[in-house]
Subunit: 342 residues, 3 copies
């Protein structure tokens, strides 16, 4: 495809030869002849000079370069759209595989695709154009919206709801029993029925092997547009707000609620029954044990305000030195005292 | 159901109108007309005044309220039992699905239920009234007790043992090979056969996508009544004691042994070959690198005694301030020295 | 088997009665009459005196013992090989199960074994003597080498490559979509096609429920001989070097590259776009946020040089005491000033 045509399709301003032929989109280091690449992360600016790509997508604020380039205020989005021009995503075959076990009375929308060995329980409904890859299991009473994609080994437990355009990567488990046990007098535990549902709203994507639990009462909710990475744990009754972003291996204990647009770094954890305000940022490996105000940036375990944590973390490596200094000061003061006492 | 009848069934003392009709058990915030709710966590006491529930289960020590209420020394347990009065848990259909692949000679107890596409290897035995949901795989030689529930996508590897009334949530993997490799002279690794079994004793529950590994020699054991949440890792040869509670994403390295009734917070980790005493409490995100005495409460990474950790964590945010103070003291002492020297 | 014969087979020097009959290899604490045991971890040296084993494998540098023993410079490797003399590993039945769904044109090597309900997509190739246990799903275009073992519930997504002798434990997911979204002006996210592949080179082993994501562009690579434990997350575009060892629950964010022979302790995390040098060691629960030089040993979150971290961690518990001391010093200096001013 000619670069000029790409520029038009992805709304970029073209600089340089419009007739360069592009065959592929590639990363800055791998790109070679015939490739279009991009830089959005400023860490890679120095690579602009050395790339062998035939063209580059760049931010308007980036330095000028010799290679033909496409300018835009949002190079990452332009890259995303350029990729689509060259990539034919893998699609599940159309139709319902003969081995799928579908209970009587299940409602299937038009052009639903269902892969081999999927199992759909009683009372389920699946919206139009939704794809269930091989080996998906829907327990009874599950409702899935339109244009959703459930990859192989996704399990959706009884009565849960999956919205429109939701993408569940492989091994996601929606609606496993919450971790609810009442302690008994003899030191054991009595299992509490987990009667709530899990609701996954529209446009959510959930990463591989992530688990979202149902609660004893009330719903566990992942709100519109939220993105969860792999191996995340969402406890019973928790709520993940609209357009939240949770990186891999994050854990939310029961009943904790994240507001809108909260960003959570990898391996961070939240105690139960917390309220986290809109647009809060919780950095990787943090341990949040208290409510978090709107817009706060929190770090550390236990989590404190990020700016304070950065200072304290820097100071942490000076601790042994500090202890030595204090010991020296103590000696000096004793000496001064002795001198004065003379 | 009339409130008086519920009081009788869940052993509570009734206060207020005995004829209130209850249709559902619900959380304190969601509850409305016709709902019975409960408060056991003191954090929610203030909600007692504002709830729209028709009745509340309360501890004997809770303040008096206007709504009809049920009093008990253990409101959480009363809530658990009340839930059961209104909730019909989802049950796998009876019988053995025609698509289940069951090896010759497998022994199945009475009223065993087996879902679609389950695979049961040679030499397996399954006790009476046990349910295997669709897509459960038992490798050869597995023995499962009575009244156990294995949810979809549970895998039990060769020769492992699952006790009576055990509940394995979806995606649990019992008996994967332990992480055992002998380093070779060329910097590589030689795989060590993992010949041990995993034994899951009676009344254990294990959460979604949790993994419990087999060892090279000897058994990995989860003892009677222990509860493990989702995405937990139990390494080869580890032992989890009776009635232990492990929150989500906890990791136990190989050969570590937890005593009875140990409580472990989310994302906490244990080095290998440790002994953790009975009734120890390890708080969330801790990193335990040494043996833990009976009854100890440990926090932090590396974990230290909780009370000390709380003090040090509070002090951590004062570190930059402390460094400044020490610098000031150093200057002052220099000044004093100079003054005295005069 | 006579001990003398074992000595010969595993290349050990025999001390004591060569005719002792050995029936089993067992751990030092469990071992009894007829068992061969071993000690390689110095933590267990004291057990040498009390073991009831009939013979012990020991390092050349270990104290002399009364029981017959086998000496070697590498007792762990000798143990590994001794185990193989007595252990008949479980093998998947030969042949291709009648329920496997195999697309037209799939190429299968000689003596490939495929278990029940496996699904092999279009264009897949599987090398000779490779075993796919029941319930393995290969999306279209996957190539698997020779002598590989894919356990039940392994999923390999479209176009990924699995090398020779690779072992994937249960529930491993190779090639799930990377966590790539371009932020939109309204606070939402636009999904970026993940067009890259995941390449797993020869002799890699990956633990249960671990996830390795594909990238938007370029390949995610696990290099020759690397070993990953359970529940590990490898982000899009990351590279794990030759003979790396990643313990359970480790997380690598996108585009991070580990060199050769890097050892990573459990629950450690890496930010994205990092370079970690050969033979670096990252201890458990560390949080690496910067490049790591070759051979460095790093600890803590944020990770610093291990020796410094050990000192600071030891100092951490003295922080409250340090604050008190500084307060005392401040008072003493005020007093000294007052005295001098007089």
């Amino acid at each position: 495809m000619k670069l000029s045509k790409i520029a038009l399709k992805i709304d970029c301003r073209m600089i340089g030869d419009p007739d360069v032929e592009i065959f592929r989109v590639a990363g800055i280091d791998e790109a070679g002849f015939g490739d279009l690449t991009f830089v959005s992360n400023r860490k890679y600016i120095s690579h602009i000079k050395t790339t062998k790509a035939s063209a580059i997508i760049l931010g308007e604020d980036m330095p000028s370069v010799d290679v033909p380039n496409l300018r835009t205020s949002d190079p990452y989005m332009a890259f995303a759209r350029a990729l689509e021009l060259f990539f034919e995503p893998h699609q599940l075959e159309s139709g319902i595989h003969s081995t799928a076990v579908i209970a009587d009375g299940v409602e299937l929308g038009a052009t639903v695709r269902i892969g081999a060995y999927s199992v759909i329980g009683k009372g389920c409904k699946i919206g139009k154009s939704t794809a269930l890859y091989p080996h998906v299991v829907l327990y009874p009473g599950v409702i899935v919206g339109n244009d959703a994609v459930l990859h192989s080994n996704v399990i959706v437990r009884e009565d849960c709801r999956i919205g429109n355009r939701v993408v569940l990567q492989n091994g996601v488990i929606i609606g496993g029993d919450g971790f609810g046990f009442a302690p008994t007098k003899d030191g054991g535990f009595y299992k509490i029925c987990q009667t709530g549902r899990v609701l996954i709203e529209d446009d959510v994507e959930i990463g591989a092997n992530t688990t979202v639990d149902r609660a004893a009462v009330g719903d566990t909710v992942i709100r519109h547009g939220a993105k969860l990475d792999n191996l995340v744990q969402v406890g019973h009754g928790a709520q993940v707000g609209e357009d939240c972003v949770l990186a891999a291996q994050v854990g939310l204990a029961g009943s904790t609620r994240l507001g809108r647009n909260v960003w959570v770094g990898g391996q961070a954890g939240f105690a139960g029954h917390l309220e986290v305000g809109d647009k809060a940022i919780i950095t990787a490996q943090s341990g949040t044990s208290h409510d978090v105000p709107t817009g706060a940036v929190m770090s550390g375990s236990p989590a404190i305000e990020n700016a304070a944590w950065l200072r304290s973390s820097a100071a942490f490596s000076k601790l042994p030195d500090l202890i030595r200094k204090v010991r020296t000061l103590e000696k000096q003061i004793e000496q001064l005292k002795a001198m004065i006492a003379k």
